[in-house]
């Protein structure tokens, strides 16, 4: 009940479009809605609720979300996985999925009521009036059809272009989506295209119906930074053309580059909304603050990123009738009131320092109405945020002579589909010393993972050598390598795939202690619990299988397992790239702690500059199988010498601390 009061109290606080009654209700539904400034919102959502029927009872995925979206505007919905942001976006195209029921006070597209639409009516809206761009372009495109045919189908569905002209129009659309050589690409199939081209092809097919609204659900998440930048530019150009853009993302940095307004979602409800500047400069809701603090970057070096050490922060429980603020369980500012009463939106003034009086949010409404309202659903908006804890000191004194791994001009090539040999690693040399973390930075296909496998001894180099403590490590018979295997351990990108699905956590870690059997693992239980303690997990996870763990817990188990054989080197292959930013922050803290206590050497592979900056002492920049630059992290990332490193740095969407801090 408290939730509907929220929307009631929300109305006297006018946002950009909400103050205006939607007078354009009579707008003709056929044809593209022309972007006319001040014509009122294109999309109006009030009190949207989506509930899924599950075996465990109803699950409220979205609990009373309200927003508007005007032509030429970009609204970003930000939140962690499971926050309901994708479901909110899908409700706009009638695709919430099986077992989901949608209700809303208002759900309008250019004045047309979208509640209770039938499937065939939805079909007229999807693609034609609302275009949808999904994250995973490979699975969103039909593998057996050409990209051109895929786009032509959208054209055919809406009978926009005569059959004969469709192929030509598809090529035009690909060109519009900035696909190079569009005529060639139109004849190719999705798997023949790179990730960035696929994503652009998907955007081209979303543009085919000339929709007035584009919904982009994590459109750049799986892409390299430079490709990501191109896609964001493309979306920005659509916005400039007057298209309304609803951007769903977990990445505040991506959002800051494109969005006008940001709405932060947590556990199915909005917790804060405002202009992108306001939200990033003066976040008020503790969750927004946590998200911002969790982003690894230069200023966070040497501090802990996460506000908590343990792994207790599972996905927020969204029982439909739970009382109080959903964030209370995670919130460092929590009070008794937070647990009993759901907070009401508090307007925040744009200026930093002069905060609105808690008693009279409505008095400030007039001042705020001019700009985009900045509101937070929290009782504690004016509390100071706890300062980040100092982390383990970076740049400790290392014994420079203590080289553990030496990679000496290593070459490796693979046979390509046409039989020719393609070099993956070309003459790479570096050293890894005890107690230091070396970052390996590069885009996909740069040879990072191949280098990692060669260091791990899982791949033999064609030429060159890897030495462990000065002794040969590569080009050894497996039997000779086996006694030293425990010295080098792997933390994989996908921990789930690295666990035997039949094993419990106890056996997973036990296996690394050479005790994979049930009873053998149980005998080593004390040691296993100790290892789990190192990564912030309790003994209660021992009997669980990997599928019963959250993403962060899985990565913690993977780290504990890698530590079990007391290795001297940890090879971490994109260990945090699949995680939400708040979970990523916790895992990065775990790595820092582990190195501080155990002094292992780490080879830390990532495509994320921020992660590398935060976690590493030295960095190696890799491109097309070659090391183009290496050196101290501060030095390389502050004053890059190589053009490629400069280009990478320029492409990174970032929360510019100079502007917003």
């Amino acid at each position: 009940m408290a939730r509907s009061e929220r929307t009631a109290t929300a109305s006297p606080l006018p946002t950009a479009g909400r103050a205006l009654p939607t007078a354009d209700g009579a707008q003709p539904s056929a044809g593209r809605v022309q972007p006319t400034a001040g014509a009122g919102p294109l999309i109006t959502v009030e009190d949207l609720r989506v509930t899924f029927a599950t075996r465990g009872g109803p699950l409220a995925a979205v609990r009373g979300v309200s927003f508007t979206l005007s032509p030429g505007e970009c609204l970003a919905i930000v939140g962690e996985s499971g926050s309901g942001k994708s479901v909110t976006a899908r409700a706009l195209v009638g695709l919430v999925g099986a077992g989901g029921s949608v209700s809303a006070g208002r759900l309008e597209l250019a004045g047309q009521d979208l509640r209770d639409l039938r499937e065939r009516d939805w079909r007229r809206i999807r693609g034609r009036r609302v275009g949808l761009v999904l994250q995973d372009a490979l699975s969103s495109l039909d593998p057996v059809r050409t990209v051109g045919a895929e786009i032509a189908e959208t054209l055919g569905n809406h009978r926009l272009v005569p059959r004969a002209a469709r192929a030509a129009r598809a090529v035009e659309l690909l060109a519009e989506a900035r696909v190079p050589e569009p005529a060639v690409r139109a004849r190719q199939r999705p798997y023949e295209l790179s990730g960035g081209l696929r994503q652009r092809a998907l955007i081209a097919s979303a543009l085919a119906g000339q929709p007035s609204v584009l919904v982009a659900d994590e459109p750049t998440t799986a892409l390299d930074v430079s490709v990501q930048a191109q896609i964001l530019d493309l979306l920005a150009a659509r916005k400039a053309d007057g298209e309304a853009l609803l951007l769903i993302s977990h990445d505040l940095a991506v959002v800051s580059r494109l969005a006008d307004r940001v709405a932060v979602m947590y556990a199915g409800a909005l917790v804060e909304e405002g202009s992108v500047e306001d939200l990033l400069r003066s976040p008020r809701h503790p969750y927004t603050r946590e998200l911002l603090a969790a982003i690894p970057s230069a200023h966070a070096r040497g501090t802990r990123l996460a506000i908590r050490r343990d792994a207790a922060t599972g996905p927020a429980v969204t029982a439909p009738d739970a009382a109080g603020c959903r964030y209370a369980a995670r919130c460092p500012l929590v009070q008794a009131r937070c647990r009993s009463a759901e907070p009401e939106p508090v307007a925040v003034e744009a200026e930093v320092g002069s905060r609105p009086d808690k008693a009279g949010p409505r008095d400030t409404a007039a001042a705020v109405a001019v700009a985009v309202a900045h509101r937070a659903w929290c009782w504690r908006t004016d509390e100071p945020w706890p300062a980040p804890q100092a982390g383990p000191a970076r740049g400790r004194v290392r014994r420079a002579d203590d080289v553990v791994i030496e990679v000496d001009t290593v070459w490796k090539s693979f046979r390509g589909p046409d039989g020719s040999r393609r070099p993956a690693v070309r003459g790479v040399s570096f050293e890894l010393r005890a107690g230091e973390t070396v970052g390996l930075l590069g885009e996909s296909g740069s040879g990072k993972s191949t280098t990692a496998e060669i260091v791990l001894g899982l791949l033999e180099p064609d030429d060159g050598a890897v030495r462990l403590h000065g002794r040969p490590w590569s080009r050894l018979p497996e039997a000779a390598r086996r006694p030293d295997r425990h010295r080098i351990q792997l933390v994989p990108q996908d921990p789930l795939g690295s666990f035997d699905p039949r094993y419990t956590v106890e056996r997973i870690v036990g296996e690394a202690l050479s005790a994979p059997g049930r009873r053998a693992a149980a005998r080593r239980r004390d040691r296993i619990v100790e290892l789990l303690g190192l990564v912030g997990l309790g003994a209660e996870v021992l009997p669980r299988r990997a599928t019963q763990l959250s993403g962060g817990q899985r990565q913690r188990v993977a780290i504990a397992r890698a530590l079990a054989p007391e290795p001297e080197v940890l090879v971490c292959d994109e260990p945090v790239s699949a995680l939400d930013v708040s979970i990523q922050a916790q895992i990065l803290d775990v790595f820092a702690d582990v190195q501080d206590t155990l002094g292992v050497a780490m080879l830390f592979i990532s495509h994320d500059l921020g992660v590398i900056y935060h976690a590493c002492d030295r960095v190696l920049v890799m491109r097309d199988g070659e090391l183009v630059e290496q050196g101290d992290v501060e030095q390389v990332l502050r004053a890059p010498a190589h053009d490629y490193t400069r280009a990478l740095l320029a492409a990174v969407p970032r929360l510019d601390t100079a502007t917003f801090a």
């Binding site: 006694p483 080098i488 699905p501 039949r502 690394a512």
Partner: protein, 273 residues
């Protein structure tokens, strides 16, 4: 877990009934299956003889019930042999390098190209007719299929992250294959094994129909069917009931097997076995 449909429930009940008949036939049929009563020869179904009598006056119902043991023995035994041999050959082929793989798979392909029944006939001709030999013959003839499947599964699972990780712990080839590959390949295999029990029951009955099964007077569905066909014009019951027993048993096993298959689909690799 999916709900159990009525068809599956009835089939499971029938499989259980056949199983009970195989383990404890006296519980379902009190009459001696081998008691000859020439006076009562070739009678139709009646209150005293539910399925009628055969040319020697033996109770067909009792013989069908007692015959379940031999038929199921051949079916289950043959499948167990096929599973064991298939796992051994398949795992060796997957684990022991390209040369061993090549040799074993060539042999497998040759065996696969023979019709199964022909291969079984050949084996029984060499070993001599008996129910054990029938089981061995059928097991041998269906092992190549299992070997191919196990090898395929093993090659897929060997690419899994957990196998690569196990290598970094210093696990050897044998340990990786026994600890990770075989157990994870086994789950989909068990379902196929259950389905092939049905096929093996039919193959066993075919062998004894041809007189290559257990020796007379052992009650067995295939040989009963063979005898019954000679008296089909006098007493239909003598052939129909053993035939029904075979058909119903195989269909029931297949329905249960398919249901299990659907339950475990998509859980691969691993599931919660």
């Amino acid at each position: 877990m999916r709900r159990i449909g009525p068809g599956v429930a009835i089939s499971a009940l029938l499989v259980a009934l056949v199983g009970l008949a195989a383990i404890w036939p006296g519980l379902l049929a009190r009459a001696d299956p081998n008691a000859v009563e020439p006076v009562d020869a070739l009678l139709g179904p009646s209150g005293a003889h539910w399925f009628g009598t055969d040319q020697l006056g033996r109770d067909v119902y009792s013989r069908v019930v007692h015959g379940a043991r031999v038929s199921l023995f051949i079916g289950v035994g043959a499948t167990a042999i096929a599973l064991l041999l298939g796992c051994l050959v398949g795992m060796l082929a997957a684990a022991c390098g390209r040369l061993v793989d090549e040799i074993l798979m060539q042999i497998t392909d040759v065996l696969l190209s023979f019709p199964g029944l022909l291969l079984s006939l050949l084996v029984v001709a060499v070993l001599g007719p008996s129910s054990t030999n029938a089981a061995i013959a059928i097991g041998l003839s269906s092992a190549p299929g299992f070997a191919r499947l196990v090898r395929g599964e093993a090659l897929v699972i060997r690419q899994a992250g957990y196998v690569r990780t196990a290598v970094t712990f210093g696990a050897g080839r044998a340990r990786v294959h026994l600890r990770h590959v075989l157990p994870n390949a086994f789950a989909p295999l068990l379902v196929l094994a259950l389905l092939s029990v049905g096929a093996a029951v039919i193959a066993g009955s075919s062998l004894s129909f041809l007189g290559l099964g257990p020796r007379v007077p052992t009650a067995e569905w295939g040989s009963m069917l063979a005898q019954g066909k000679d008296f089909l014009t006098i007493s239909w019951a003598m052939a129909v009931f053993p035939g029904l027993a075979i058909t119903v048993t195989v269909i029931a096993i297949n329905i249960v097997g398919r249901d299990l298959q659907r339950r475990f689909e998509g859980r691969h690799p691993g599931g919660t076995f």
